[in-house]
Symmetry: C2
Subunit: 371 residues, 2 copies
């Protein structure tokens, strides 16, 4: 199994599309500023001649974390006037690294700010290696960051027959997804333990199910994944898709609870604890959907629907498009997917209340022991 | 000035296109095996815990150097059973890093060989930073490699009025190109001097004009750049392109002679010498055009033309397409470029003898002093 083959394809629709459509993801990352600053203050500086190395795991085009990275670089530079800083942005091989490099070099996006890549003594790298493998050499990362990436599983344990996401799966399916997620979480942490320098730290913001049972797109109003599942079922009922295509649409994802995130750290004999990692902070955080917030201001349901559903489409489209029989002509597959999101959008335009993709994150600070 | 803005756009036409169309470039790189092995044997190993770091400057999709990189990794591993190895592939931000990561992970190309990325303790990175800037932290590169990349200048000193390349420029134009090339060469070397560890080495294979006056596509038969210039002039004469478009087609390149490559090293007081670099080996090498060689076997002029001209087009197209007035409809610009290469291809099919894109390289080994 290669890392790439095991991972889902996340759709990228041209330069900057991901970041522009994930305003909420950026808002969530920006909330991490204090936690990140406190973590950075505790990290021992590398010896002279060694760079302070930062990793951003699952960075996509780097847009949502760009402001945070500027802040991190400034904090590190303030602690150490001399010495190099590296930032390694990681994602899957098909990620749009060109957009990432252009953004950080100031060739795209906000051209008024100093490009991150122009900071003195700062060097930027990309890695196309999955975070289910070791990405950088042993003991080289001082600070690792990841946002909204580690809910993607390394493999799909089974299709979810009558829903699209583990949050709506039957009990036996959910058990298999949870087992995969817990094994994957250990894999992720053990690789990071090897990569971290002694005293190095991770700050992670992962999608979760919070103590109130909330998760992405399910914070009291319409349940986003149930809405996906219902419109997908409608296509089956209308004879537009086959039973096999209906079953195949399954997000290769799992949202862990706080207890599930914390489990490897609570057992002093677990491989993760034995590798020197400890959980120093854990909390959940809900970030309001910016499109639903804007709708409360402007009150135009059609506009809300037209702004909101493309955001959902940006990260979910490949799941539905990929479930369709490749023997269908491409134009037919495109029409089915267009109709699917069109129906969702029409529903939001008709009955906008309660639709929202609020983010529900688990924020964690993890430290590696000094010795 | 940003590095990206200053550099020419090298056309990439989809996954693996560059490498598949540059068989000759790979053949030239494969000739470097002995020189590289001898250089590697002289490089002091980094201390325990420090990786042996390799850089490939201007790597494109990594395809032409992949076999060499496998060999380098094996040689380093044989010298040091433990310890990590890193390979940093560098190119401009718009480079196709996804293809590079897929190739090195075995997801494209030859699937029978072990993927380079699967070698134990080996970590692969991309950098979208131009080699006219520092790319990695001070003193971290043990071995640097570059093939067929450093003839691209950081800026175009002037258009070449009645030709397309410095090899055919008027004397005053050529002087300006040479001055730019010599300044650029110093810039390249001074950045590499900072990046190299003490005792680290570079092996470079750069396009050149050899002591017999030969250069890429000019080794005794038809002169490739003169042929480009003539067909471009034909479009002007036919009224297909304007005088301004005619002048604008200028390769932002310069082929240095051996003496020009060696000049900074021959002056002990030059910034390059003062930075600790010395030239330990320099030689030129002609690599036969694989398409012209195949033509000698198969004798089919139409087939030769159809195989050969697309190779030229793969790296030259953006120069001609980019010279056309952007106010022209895209379809008109595409038709002009198609006709340009079509005329070249028809000429080769009609009079195939002497057409050949033989590569003429200058091979250099450069060492950084230990102290």
């Amino acid at each position: 199994m290669t890392a790439g083959a095991a991972m889902p394809v996340i759709a990228m629709r041209g330069a900057g599309y991901y970041s522009a459509n994930t305003v909420g993801a950026k808002t969530a990352i920006d909330k991490l500023g204090d936690l990140v600053a406190a973590a950075l203050a505790k990290i021992p500086l590398p010896g002279p001649g060694l760079p302070f190395s930062i990793a951003d795991y699952g960075a996509a085009d780097g847009g949502t974390s760009l402001d945070l990275m500027r802040g991190i670089a400034a904090i590190v530079r303030a602690r150490r006037a001399e010495g190099d800083i590296t930032i390694t942005y990681t994602d899957l091989p098909h990620n749009d690294f060109s957009t990432l490099f252009r953004l950080t070099q100031g060739l795209l996006g906000d051209r008024s700010a100093q490009p991150l890549a122009d900071a003195p003594g700062l060097y930027i790298f990309g890695s196309g290696t999955s975070f289910y493998r070791q990405i950088v050499p042993d003991g080289t990362v001082s600070f690792g960051f990841s946002a909204t990436a580690m809910h993607w599983l390394s493999a799909r344990p089974c299709p979810i027959a009558d829903h699209v996401h583990a949050v709506g799966a039957a009990a036996a399916e959910k058990d298999r997804f949870k087992a995969q997620a817990m094994a994957d979480w250990q894999t992720i942490l053990l690789h990071r333990a090897r990569e971290l320098r002694p005293g190095g730290r991770l700050v992670l913001a992962n999608f979760c199910i919070d103590p109130q049972g909330r998760y992405l797109g399910n914070t009291g109003g319409a349940n986003m994944f149930d809405t996906f599942a219902r419109h997908w079922r409608d296509l089956l009922a209308a004879g537009r898709i086959t039973e096999a295509e209906y079953r195949a649409a399954t997000f290769q994802q799992f949202y862990k609870s706080v207890d599930e995130f914390a489990a490897p750290f609570r057992d002093a004999l677990s491989p993760v604890s034995q590798a020197g990692l400890r959980l120093d902070h854990v909390a959940t955080e809900v970030t309001a959907c910016p499109y639903a917030e804007a709708f409360r201001d402007h009150g135009d349901a059609r506009r809300f629907a037209a702004d909101y559903v493309p955001t959902l489409r940006s990260w979910s489209e490949t799941v539905f498009a990929g479930a369709l029989d490749p023997a269908r002509p491409a134009a037919m597959r495109a029409a089915i997917v267009d109709d699917f999101y069109g129906a969702y959008q029409a529903e939001v335009a008709r009955t906008p209340e309660g639709h929202a993709m609020d983010y529900v994150h688990c924020f964690m600070e993890i430290g590696k022991s000094l010795g």
